[in-house]
């Protein structure tokens, strides 16, 4: 309990520091959103529009950074993330809420699958050393070093086309409306296959390796020998004794990787035109849309922290040693 409380205090501090950083960093970027918008439209938007845009975005009023910072916090505490510039006047929260689920579903589920698959294979490779599973390692090492945007682009080139099963981009077919029905779900799944595969291929090996190494380390602990000496079945020793303990250090790694979901897979979303939050962030960066940038960063920060909190709790549940009652 004390442990959890400490963690929470730590999270609050980290959140504050990260949010503050998030506030200031975008403001260091030269230029302003109006210019960025004009530039984005390269001649499609005539330069007479500049004045009206400043008025529209509310950038015509002079405010000190400090005042903005205070305003930002008071807005934030009211749950208001401000209005996006790129999608003016859509509230940032609305943009995030439409794109976040996509990222969570695609990358989140993929990360989870990757973790479980990798951990499973790692358990095998670590437990049955010298068997075929060990031969997997060099291949996965190579695959994990492949930049996944590159892999994704090749996959699009090779696997998509007019008659291909795999769509080349997007989260679902145009014309469909997100809904939980038999038209939309399979379609969305189909669209997520390629990007998911790309992420899976390049991320699974990390888990295999770390799990394998932990298995190997744990396998030489005394209690494993005792378990064997007790005459337990191989399966029971491998799962309940070895894998159970080897998993512990990986839990915090998993939490961190959950946190990296949003930031780390930005490129997959770009390459596959996936309507997720990473892509929103990328757009916001280009357009100097700081409300949106801050919003996305906030989400990322919070998700990292929540993931860590979950990991802490999971750790607490998985490792009785951290549960110090007395």
């Amino acid at each position: 309990m004390k442990y959890l409380l400490q963690r929470i205090a730590f999270y609050l501090f980290t959140a504050w520091a990260a949010i503050t950083l998030n506030f200031f960093i975008p403001r260091m970027v030269p230029g302003d959103p109006v210019q960025a918008l004009i530039t984005k439209y390269q001649g499609q938007l005539s330069s007479q529009a500049i004045d009206s845009l400043y008025v529209l975005f509310g950038l015509d009023k002079d405010k000190s950074v400090w005042e903005e910072y205070v305003d930002y916090w008071s807005q934030l505490l009211h749950g208001d993330l401000g209005l996006s510039f790129t999608f003016f006047p859509t509230p940032v929260s609305e943009i995030i809420s439409t794109s976040l689920p996509w990222t969570l579903l695609l990358v989140g589920i993929t990360t989870i699958i990757s973790f479980f698959l990798g951990t499973g294979l790692g358990v095998l490779a670590g437990w049955r050393r010298g068997s075929w599973a060990d031969g997997l390692l060099p291949v996965t090492t190579f695959l994990s070093s492949v930049p996944y945007f590159w892999l994704g682009i090749i996959a699009i080139y090779l696997l998509t086309g007019p008659d291909s099963f795999f769509p080349s981009s997007g989260g679902f077919d145009n014309g469909l409306v997100p809904a939980w029905d038999q038209y939309f779900i399979p379609n969305a799944l189909k669209h997520s296959l390629l990007p998911a595969l790309t992420i899976l291929i390049s991320s699974v090996s990390g888990w295999i390796l770390s799990m394998r190494n932990m298995m190997v380390t744990v396998a030489s602990e005394d209690y494993i020998t005792v378990a064997h000496a007790k005459g337990l079945s191989d399966r029971r020793v491998a799962m309940s004794y070895a894998a159970r303990n080897a998993l512990l250090p990986n839990v915090s790694g998993f939490a961190l990787s959950l946190g990296f979901i949003v930031g780390g897979t930005l490129l997959v979303e770009i390459v596959f035109s996936y309507p997720g939050i990473g892509f929103q962030l990328f757009q916001a960066l280009g357009a100097q849309d700081y409300p949106l940038m801050q919003g996305v960063f906030l989400i990322i920060t919070i998700s990292v922290l929540v993931a860590n909190l979950i990991a802490d709790v999971a750790y607490l549940l998985l490792d009785p040693r951290t549960r110090k009652e007395g």
Binding site: S47, P89, T90, F279
Partner: protein, 540 residues
Amino acid sequence: ACGDSPNANKDASNSKGADFLSIGMPNGTVSENNNPFVGTSAGASLGYRWTIYEPLGMWNNVKPADPAKPWLASDIKWAADYKALDVTIRDNATWSDGQKLTAEDVAYTFNLIKSNEALNIFAIPFDQITVDGSKVKITFKTSQFTTWHKIISQIPIVPKHLWEKISDPATDPIKTPVGSGPYTLKTFSQQGIVLERRESGYWQDKPAIKELRYTSYTDNNAQTTALATGQSEWSFVFIPSYQQTFVAKDPEHFKVWAPGVLGIHGLYINTTQKPFDDPALRRAMNKVVNRADIFNQAEASYFHPELKSVTGLPEGAGDAFITEAYKGQTLAVDVDGAKKILTDAGYKLEGTTLKDKAGKPVTIKLSDPAPWSDYQTTLEIIKSNLAEIGIAATVEKPNQNVWDQNVQKGDFGAVMRWTNGGSTPFDIYQTVMDGDLLKPIGTAAQQGNFGRFKSPEATAALKAYANATSDADRTTALAAIQKVFVEQAPMLPVGSDNVGGAYSTKNWVGWPSDSDPYAPMQPTQSGALDVIMHLKPASS
């Protein structure tokens, strides 16, 4: 079980002869905003606002000098000094909620813009707006000769009875748009926006296409892929090697049409930096730029049509505006000519290095943001072109924000950039040479004249052109402008903008073409509505 699902009738969509048209733009994600006045709205970015809200008239960018085609206005009349406009509103137009469209609505729209700075994106100096039956009279504080097409064709008319109730028209996302156009919004999602044909009440014959499906692709690559696979049937996007990557995929149906318009791309030279303040040097540079190479290698042989005229005006759209003096004079690579100009002006070409009058080697920094690959390629070509007369150029790729700021503050050697465009060459020349826009180095010049070009004649002539009351005056002023442009070469014109598009005739035919350039072919232009009205099913 899911009969009430909005997707219920969608699963067979691709199999039977299509009754919809898929339109795509490489604009990244969009958010649900159909406000026709807001440039950041999905409606504006994808162009579907024009199928819901209509303008008074249709102006054809491809033939900018032609008068506007009446649309909501049955008659459009400008005063000779372009300070007053009389329009007659057609009486058979209705809003999609069934109400009648009247002159009151038109006057309301213009008043809305006039009183709302944030909505007045063209900065039009409205004066008086009066209604007289089906007629509306609008007066302006200055001549609108160079901006008339914006007023007529780029201001969507909105229903007064609904907009009156909106508290802040500039920020309202107008989730359920009601307009006078032939389509209404059916569904909106991140991946696509579907518009449905109005089955009754439209003032013309209803269009053949039942449904318009707009998709915003994340980037050019995604959009191109979608075009090549047939997922997208119409788009405006830069396709490298379009013959191979797009047309070749289905040569029978996949087409590209890219007519030039009165808006150009060129190399802005910072005329305050020595020795580039010397017109002779700039002229010499102008003579070595290989526009054909740029057109073919950087612009994929279509995207920015090659500029031929020395006046920097594109073929077709610009023809009507080339003054007598320069008719037939074309830009051509002439290295020897360039060298001659240089030696005459006192430069020395020593080996592969050009030395200026002070004996210093001439070097220049070319810069553009990295993601604009066509500009980047252009700069690479210009770099090697300039090397031929001994100018050592380096290409820099500052990020877009830095680049923007540098361009505005005059902190650059030379950049590839666009000009404003319009119905006359005024916008082009103004962006390049207008002394009124001139700002000292270090102060942001937001509207134009980034090269800090100082020419009182040009400034005066531009003013004269904009405010002239007769064609003769305009011709004289234009001649003066072009003379400065050609002789001083403040900017080296390279290619023109285009209002074309890539399209597929598999399902729909009737697209504009060189032989019948009835409208611009860009899905985001108001003229796109005209195109949609022209399309007919390919099968019948």
